[in-house]
Amino acid sequence: MLNLKQRRRIQSIAMGTLGWLVALTIFFPIFWMILTSFKTEIDAFASPPQLIFSPTLENYLSINERSDYFHFAWNSVVVAFGSTIIGMLIAVPAAYSMAFFETKRTKSTLLWMLSTKMLPPVGVLVPIYLLFRDLGLLDTRLGLVIIYTLINLPIMVWMAYTYFKEIPKDILEAARMDGATLLQEIWRVLLPMSKGGLASTVLLSLILSWNEAFWSLNLTASEAAPLTALVASYSSPEGLFWAKLSAVSTLACAPILIFGWVSQKQLVRGLSFGAVK
C-alpha cells in the first residue's frame, strides 16, 4: 500500500508529464514554423516532413527578395506605436477621472465603452471604406492609426481604470494639499505609482494593433500594408514558398510572442476588462 505522500508524488509526476505533452502539442505548430524557416525550399516541402536537415539562413538573408520586408515591418511599427501613443493620451485622463472622481454615470459610461467593442467591424466596413476613399485615407498609415486607436480605446480605458482604482485616494489628495496642480498630480504622483499597470496597457495595445487583420487587409494595398497583409500575400497560389513564408512569419511574430511571454499575468486583466486579476 502506498502512503499518502507517495501517492501525491506519483500523481504529481503523472500530471506533470501530461501537462508537458499537452503543451508540446499546442506549441508544435510554432516550433514547426520556426524549424521550417531554417530549411531549404526543397527540404521544407519534402514528404515525409524532415526533422533532421542541414539548416540554412538563406531564407532570412533573402527576406527582402520577394517583397520589401522592412517596408511592411516599418508600417507595423509605426501603426502599432502611433495608435498606442494616441490611445494612451486619450485613455489615461479618462481613466483617471473615472477612477478618482466617480459620478453616477461612471459605471454606465464604462459599460457603454465596452459595448462599442461589440459593434462588429463588418457593420461599418462599407462606410469606413467610402469615407477613407473620399478623405484620401485608404492605404495610409494615418488611416490605420485612427482605426486602431478607436478599436483599442475601450480596452485601454478599462485597463488603466482598474489599475488607478488600486491607488489610495488619500495620496492624491495629499499631493493636492501640497498645492500640486492637476497636471503635476497626474505626472508626478499618479503615473509613477501606476508604471507597471500602464506599461502592460501599452503592451496589450501594441499586441492587438500588431496582430489586427480585418482593417489592415481591407484598408491597405501596398503603401501602408503592415506585416499581417504581407503574410496574407503568401496565400496566393503563385507557387509554394514554405521556407520563406516561415521565415517571414517567424520574424513577424517574434516580438509579439516575447511581449506576450513577459507580460502574461498583467495582460489577463486587460483582456478580461478587469474581471480577472
Binding site: M15, A23, L119, P127, A175, N211, A229, A232, L257
Partner: protein
C-alpha cells in the same frame, strides 16, 4: 515629492478637509472634461458609420454604377435575407462561434486545472500553452493550411500515412471543420491564460480542508474549482464571442469562403458583397443584420458578466 511624506500628509488630510473641498470641486469639474475626448471619439465611431450604413442599406448603390441610386426601401434586406448565401453564412457563423466556444472552454478548464498543480518545468509549460494567442491570424492560417494540413507534404498527412490511413485533404473535404480547428488553436490559449490566472487565486486552505474531510478529486472540482471559475468563464465567453462573430482573416487567407459557401460566415459574406461585388446597398443591409446579431449576443453577454465587471 516622495511617498513617505505623501503618506504623512495623507494623515493630515482629514484635519484640512474643509479647505480641500474647494480644490476637489474644481478638480472634479476639470476631470469631467478629461472623460469627454474618449466619449466623443467613441460616440463618433459608433454613430457616423452606423448611420451611413443605415442610409446605404435603404438605397440602391453599386460602386460600379455610382449614379444609379434611388430609395429602395427594404429591398436590400429582402435580397440579402432570401439569398442562399445568407442562410449559409448565418449557420456557418453560428457553428463557428458555438464550436470554438465549446472546444476552448472545455479544454481550457481541463488544461488550466491540469497545469495548476506544481510540477517540473511549470513555467515553460505555461509559456508554451499561451503562445498561439500571440500569433497573428494570417500567420496562423497559412502555417496551418500549408505546413500542417497540406494533403501532400503536411505534418498531418505524414501522421496519417504513418498509421497507414488515407491522408485527408482537410480544406477540401472538411473546410468548416478545418477553420474551426485553426481558430480554436488560436483561442484555446486565451481561455487557458484567463482561467490559469483565475485559478491562482483559488483558496488553497479551503481545498486542503475539503480534502481532509474526504472529498475526492471530482467533488473538489465540482464544488470548489468550477464555482470559482464561473466568472472567468463568463468573461472568456463574452470576449471570445465578440471576436469570433467577426472572424475574417483566417477565412480570407485559407479558403476565401469556399468551396461554394461552405466556409463563408457573415463577416466574409458582407466583405465579398462590398469589396468584391461592389454592392454597397446589399452589403450595408448585411452589415446591419450583423450588428443586430451582435447586439442580441451582447444583450445576454453583458447581462451575464456586466454586473460582475463593475461590482467591485
Amino acid at each position: 515629492m516622495n511617498t513617505t511624506t505623501l503618506k504623512q500628509d495623507a494623515n493630515n488630510v482629514s484635519a484640512g478637509k474643509e479647505s480641500l473641498t474647494g480644490i476637489a470641486k474644481q478638480n472634479a469639474k476639470m476631470s469631467r472634461y478629461m472623460v469627454s475626448p474618449s466619449v466623443l471619439v467613441l460616440m463618433l465611431w459608433m454613430i457616423v458609420p452606423l448611420s451611413m450604413t443605415i442610409y446605404f442599406s435603404l438605397i440602391r448603390y453599386n460602386l460600379l454604377y455610382p449614379d444609379d441610386n434611388g430609395f429602395v426601401g427594404l429591398e436590400n434586406f429582402e435580397f440579402f435575407l432570401t439569398d442562399e448565401s445568407f442562410s449559409a453564412g448565418m449557420s456557418n457563423t453560428l457553428i463557428l462561434v458555438g464550436a470554438v466556444l465549446l472546444i476552448t472552454i472545455v479544454f481550457g478548464v481541463l488544461i488550466s486545472v491540469l497545469v495548476n498543480q506544481p510540477f517540473w518545468g511549470q513555467g515553460i509549460v505555461r509559456v508554451m500553452l499561451i503562445s498561439p494567442f500571440f500569433i497573428m491570424p494570417t500567420v496562423n492560417a497559412l502555417v496551418w493550411k500549408n505546413l500542417l494540413l497540406d494533403p501532400v507534404a503536411g505534418v498531418f498527412t505524414a501522421i496519417s500515412k504513418f498509421f497507414g490511413a488515407q491522408p485527408i485533404d482537410w480544406f477540401t473535404d472538411y473546410p468548416l471543420f478545418s477553420i474551426v480547428m485553426i481558430v480554436s488553436w488560436q483561442w484555446l490559449p486565451f481561455a487557458i491564460l484567463i482561467l490559469m490566472t483565475a485559478l491562482q487565486s483559488l483558496d488553497q486552505e479551503q481545498q486542503e480542508a475539503a480534502r481532509l474531510d474526504g472529498a475526492g478529486p471530482w467533488a473538489l472540482f465540482r464544488h470548489l474549482t468550477l464555482p470559482h471559475l464561473a466568472r472567468p468563464i463568463a468573461v472568456v465567453v463574452m470576449i471570445e464571442t465578440i471576436f469570433l462573430l467577426s472572424i475574417f482573416a483566417e477565412i480570407f487567407t485559407t479558403t476565401g469562403g469556399g468551396p461554394g459557401y461552405d466556409t463563408t460566415n457573415l463577416a466574409y459574406l458582407i466583405y465579398s458583397q462590398a469589396l468584391l461585388q461592389f454592392d454597397v446597398g446589399l452589403a450595408s443591409a448585411g452589415g446591419l443584420i450583423a450588428v443586430l446579431l451582435a447586439n442580441i449576443a451582447a444583450f445576454f453577454l453583458v447581462r451575464l458578466v456586466g454586473k460582475s465587471l463593475t461590482d467591485k
